[in-house]
């Protein structure tokens, strides 16, 4: 059984004056509803161009309503270059340069793909890792 842990530390000494912020959390990524670690992962590096519309980073091809976790990092150092992150037709948020996100993804239905789009100019390099309960490849064309 594989073991995958994800830890976050959020800190600030001046966001809340007189009350330093220090959040620390760690979780082990398990298969749906179990204490068996996830054993499937898809990770890599890609490049988006601004001319593109939103592209699917990951299709919801596995078993619906399962435990999956998504990490995406916009590695651009240009502050004007951000990525629009969405699930199907809903925009989740804008991922600025040198920013990352980590979230669960239950693949609630077959339309619940993770999609990404580059703004505002040039190309953006991104890194990603998707830890999955099930892994179904796209059908051959």
């Amino acid at each position: 059984m594989a073991t995958t842990t994800a830890t976050v530390n959020i800190s600030s000494t001046d966001l809340q004056p007189g009350n330093a912020l220090g959040i620390s959390a760690s979780t082990t990524l398990y298969q749906t509803g179990t204490t068996t670690g996830l054993e499937l992962v898809d990770y890599g590096v890609g490049k988006l161009t601004q001319a593109s519309a939103a592209d699917a980073l990951a299709e919801a091809l596995g078993t619906a309503d399962t435990s999956n976790y998504v990490y995406i990092c916009n590695t651009s150092t240009d502050k004007d270059q951000y990525m629009v992150i969405g699930i199907h037709d809903t925009v989740v948020g804008n991922l600025g340069s040198e920013e990352w996100l980590f979230m669960p993804w239950n693949m609630g239905d077959s339309d619940a793909e993770i999609n990404i789009e580059a703004e505002t100019s040039g190309s953006i390099t991104y890194e990603y890792a998707i830890f999955k309960s099930t892994y179904t490849l796209p059908a051959k064309t």
Binding site: A2, T4, T5, A6, T7, V8, N9, I10, S11, S12, T13, D14, L15, Q16, L21, I23, A25, S26, T27, T28, G33, G37, L38, L40, V41, A64, D65, S67, N68, Y69, Y71, C73, K79, D80, Y82, I85, I87, H88, D89, T90, V91, V92, G93, N94, G96, E98, E99, W100, L101, F102, M103, P104, W105, N106, G108, D109, A112, T120, E127, A129
Partner: protein, 141 residues
Amino acid sequence: MATTSATITINSDITSSPLRISKTMLLKKFTSTDGIEETTGLRSKKFNATAAVEIISNTEGTADKASKVYIRNTGSSSVEFFYVALNNSAAASDSTETIGKLYGGDWMLIPWIATASTSHDICVAPSTTDEMTLEYMVFQE
């Protein structure tokens, strides 16, 4: 200008060559190098019903500005969870749009577009009537 940093560390032995991700980001204003200056502070709320509940209203952010949302299920159950969604009816599948499931100990940190619409309220739905607790915090311009 405040300085708030968030560091993620992911360690995994899913692949034959250990996977390690470590990335620190500064929480910045939209297309800026200046740090985010506002926050709701860390909230903690107990739930003991399975009905979907709005935990963060879109009015707490500003559309097209940089907002980040941190949410953590403080429990330890690998069976019970919260659905987290960008809609008013967090459920297994919803077209507008369920994000995923946070089991005990799971956390997420995402950018949030905070569009001035109920489609971007953040809602949760517990999987059980047994008491569970969420911690959550919004960082915003």
